[in-house]
């Protein structure tokens, strides 16, 4: 007997749970990167009380108690001599410029995962609205949207995002804007196709027969069914953006992103093949992120796919 509650089915998928755990951890690392790796103290206890300090706060000689990050280096801090072997003070060693690899890895999550999450969210929002509008409200717009989405899909995302980076300079915003422009199309196509399929289902016909408006059918009956597909699509979008940003930084397309980027770290590692950790660390981080997103999407799809459920039931 299959438990038909979606949350239970998702929780039973080990892939989905693994994906959520890894992506959630990476999201926390990205959000609190400054707490994990920072040269300046995070907070200080003084006569005025306990105060949070800005990123470039200096440490006076008579400073009282200071709360410091576990990794006491920023992504650009020259922490030691170049190519230091892993040690207690630099668990993953240092790079060519003597910067701490672990600190760069933590801050790199900000660009990779941060940009990935934002683009996935914007792509789902933009693509979802466009797909839903084209499917529900206009008949002519549907084929037009299909053609536009096909054209956008055909654009080499790498070039579009590289141009945005060249336009906006070294900012993560340029990666987000460029990647969103190419990411929304696949979501819009997915939404349109799914809504088209769901539109022929009995429960939609019943709602229509009872006099429900298009908007009510869309919001109350169709959108809840789209949730898993959209989340799955967003997860795959996230992995695509992480790979895209890494590829751009690896190739050096456009100006370098401020802070640290896993793609830049990977490129540096590839240039120094004798320094194994330099190459392995960003490669593992990228693979873990992309793999987790892929497994989450797979697990989610399997949890809601009627065919999988039927096969599972029959076995």
């Amino acid at each position: 007997m299959t438990d038909h509650r979606l949350s239970t089915r998702i929780m039973r998928s080990r892939r989905a749970v693994f994906g959520v755990a890894v992506l959630g951890t990476l999201a926390l690392v990205a959000i609190f990167a400054d707490v994990f790796a920072r040269e300046a103290p995070i907070a200080r206890s003084s006569a005025h009380g306990f105060e949070l300090l800005p990123e470039n706060a200096a440490s006076p000689p008579d400073a009282g108690f200071e709360l410091r990050a576990p990794i006491r280096y920023g992504p650009s801090t020259i922490a030691s001599t170049p190519f230091t072997k892993p040690s207690l003070s630099h668990p993953l060693g240092t790079d060519r410029d003597g910067r701490d690899v672990l600190a760069r890895l933590v801050h790199g999550a900000r660009i990779a995962v941060g940009a990935g999450f934002v683009v996935a969210l914007l792509g789902v929002l933009g693509g979802g609205i466009a797909g839903a509008f084209a499917s529900q409200y206009t008949r002519r717009l549907g084929p037009t949207l299909e053609r536009v989405a096909q054209a956008v899909d055909a654009f080499p995302a790498l070039i579009v995002v590289a141009l945005f980076r060249a336009m906006e300079g070294s900012s993560t915003v340029s990666v987000v804007v460029g990647a969103t422009i190419v990411q929304w199309a696949s979501v819009a196509r997915l939404v349109r196709t799914e809504l088209h399929r769901l539109g022929a289902e009995d429960f939609v016909l019943a709602a229509r027969a009872l006099g429900a408006t298009k908007t009510r059918i869309l919001v109350r009956h169709l959108l809840p069914h789209l949730g898993p597909s959209l989340v799955s699509s967003a997860a795959l979008g996230l992995s695509a953006v992480v790979m895209l940003e890494a590829t751009l930084s690896f190739l050096g397309l456009g100006p370098p992103v401020g802070g640290a980027s896993w793609g830049e770290m990977l490129a540096e590692g590839a240039r120094h093949p004798d320094q194994t950790p330099l190459f392995v660390v960003p490669a593992v981080a990228l693979s873990l992120t992309i793999g987790a997103a892929y497994l989450f999407a797979e697990g989610l799809r399997e949890a809601v796919d009627p065919v999988t459920l039927r096969v599972r039931d029959s076995s």
Binding site: Q150, A151, D153, A154, F155, P156, A157, L158, I159, V160, A162, L163, A166, M167, S239, M243, L244, A246, T247, F250, L251, G252, L253, G254, L266, A267, G269, A270, P273, F279, A283, L286, S287, L288, T289, I290, G291, Y294, L295, E298, V307, T308, R310, V311, S314
Partner: protein, 508 residues
């Protein structure tokens, strides 16, 4: 079917045009390179404006509703001179530059000015009289005689300022190449430029080299430029000079040509950044200077490498991935499925650069295109394997497969004739959108393996704002994607004849 294919191919033309417009719009927002920006910071505003003009930055992007021609430029310059004040010098310089091409509009307008203003404008035309070598030109420098000088000149010579007359004069100069013919043309000054540029062609033998030399001398005389074909110049050098004159004309044509009727409508599209860019591309392909030839040669070597990586990788991924998907779907044992699935996910998650570096570590001397195809293909295995496995799983529970088995078909027969055939449709459809996605992987692999493909050229093009290269790359990618989509439709229709009707309706 053939008619439908032709129709779909013809649809590609407007599609590519729209894509080129959108891409150009994106390019047009690119700021200048930091080093260029720094170099321009200390420039004189007039020189900066000239540089901006040479980059077509003064034009609108796609439609120019009020294209400027010699008439509007001459009227504006004459007004500035007539008004006096600080801008009069700039106006006088502009009138001297416009030269003979401005005379048909400036001289008749002199009567509309009061005597003082008329005098100022007439005096501003003195450099033109000197350049044209007019008799009694000293009168043009005397304040109270200058206006009368130009009025007399126009009464005597206005009949020569007609395009048909100029074309004949240019043709005579090209044929006889005598000083008297050159002097005859010099008296028309810049009015002869359109006809001279029309007649100027890249030389291909000694005779045409002489013609080109004579015509460029006439052009130098009228424009005060010094880009001549030297006496000892060979054909290649002469072609370079002609190319530079064409480039000059691309920027300055509207200074010497008047638009009317259809010409104005054409100028609304031509006198735009997009129009100028397109003309420049055609120009550089028509007259191949050394730089263009070198670029084309580099492209000729790079394109096959990148295309081999992309299409070789896709072919490898789809052959191996589809087989893995089939194996995973029909296998009843759990362990092989888990191992296959894990391997595919790992390869999907690893950046191609990582796989390439690992391959180089394992076999340092094997840096070649075969290894590149292998690396690109391995990274793309996940998509066909997953789609094939899912498609087969869903087909196996369909009624027609079960009915086939119930009628006595063996498993292999039901699998191949019913299941595999149907499931391949989904995989083929996915394959058609893979090339743009494979581009990044191919570029990474090229960089790691040191293959001279398009990746390195693209990095340079982005850094140097090479619009033409990047536009070509985008259009090439879109064209390939569209052709792949068409090919996938045709293959799908071949595999499943029921889809032929849908292909037709999609086209209509």
């Amino acid at each position: 079917m053939l008619a439908l294919l032709v129709r779909r191919l013809l649809w590609l033309i407007p599609t590519l045009f729209v894509v080129s417009l959108l891409t150009f719009l994106l390019f047009s927002f690119l700021p200048e390179r930091p080093e260029e920006h720094a170099a321009h910071a200390d420039l004189d505003p007039e020189i900066e404006a000239q540089l901006e003009r040479e980059r077509f930055g003064d034009l609108p992007r796609f439609v120019n509703l009020e294209p400027e021609d010699v008439e509007t430029r001459a009227a504006r310059a004459a007004r500035l001179v007539a008004e006096g004040g600080p801008d009069a010098v700039r106006g006088a310089r502009e009138l001297a530059r416009l030269g003979g091409a401005a005379l048909p509009y400036v001289i008749p307008s002199l009567d509309g000015f009061d005597p003082t203003r008329r005098e100022r404008v007439a005096l501003a035309l003195l450099p033109v009289a000197i350049r044209m070598g007019l008799p009694n030109r000293q009168d043009a420098s005397v304040p109270d005689r200058a206006a009368d000088f130009w009025a007399r000149f126009w009464a005597d010579r206005s009949v020569e300022f007609r395009q048909a007359t100029v074309r004949t004069a240019v043709e005579r100069l090209a044929r006889y190449q005598t000083p008297s013919r050159a002097a005859e043309l010099a008296q028309l000054d810049t009015f002869a430029l359109p006809a001279l540029m029309e007649r100027l062609q890249p030389p291909h033998d000694a005779a045409s080299l002489e013609v080109a030399r004579t015509l460029t001398d006439a052009l130098c005389q009228a424009t005060d430029r010094s880009d001549r074909i030297e006496d000892h110049a060979d054909l290649a050098e002469a072609r370079l000079v002609v190319a530079r004159w064409r480039q000059y004309w691309l920027v300055h044509e509207s200074d010497y040509v008047a638009y009317d009727g259809a010409g104005r409508a054409a100028a609304a599209l031509r006198e735009t950044r997009y129009g100028k860019w397109a003309a420049q591309v055609v120009l550089s392909l028509t007259i191949r200077d050394d730089a263009t030839s070198r670029s084309l040669e580099r492209l000729r070597r790079a394109i096959p490498i990148t295309l081999s990586l992309i299409f070789g990788g896709i072919a490898l991924a789809y052959i191996v991935g589809t087989s893995l998907g089939v194996a995973s779907s029909v296998s009843e044992r759990r362990l092989p499925k888990v191992i296959l699935g894990s391997a595919v996910v790992t390869l999907h998650a690893l950046p191609s650069a990582t796989v390439a570096v690992v391959c180089l570590w394992l076999a340092p001397s094997s840096s070649n295109i075969g290894l590149g195809i292998l690396v690109v293909g391995l990274g793309m295995l996940a998509s066909p394997a997953r789609h094939q496995r899912d498609a087969l799983s869903s087909v196996f529970v369909r009624e027609f497969v079960r009915a086939s088995r119930a009628r006595g078909a063996s498993f292999p027969r039901a699998f191949v004739a019913q299941g595999l055939r149907q499931s391949l449709l989904a995989t083929i459809s996915v394959a058609s959108v893979e090339p743009p996605a494979a581009l990044g992987a191919a570029f990474m692999v090229e960089q790691v393996l040191g293959l001279p493909g398009l990746g390195q050229l693209t990095v340079l093009a982005v850094a140097e704002r090479d619009v033409t290269f990047l536009m070509g790359l985008v259009l090439g990618a879109v064209l390939i994607a569209a052709l792949m989509l068409l090919l996938s439709d045709v293959v799908q229709a071949t595999v499943d004849p029921r889809l032929r009707g849908r292909l037709g309706s999609a086209v209509r």
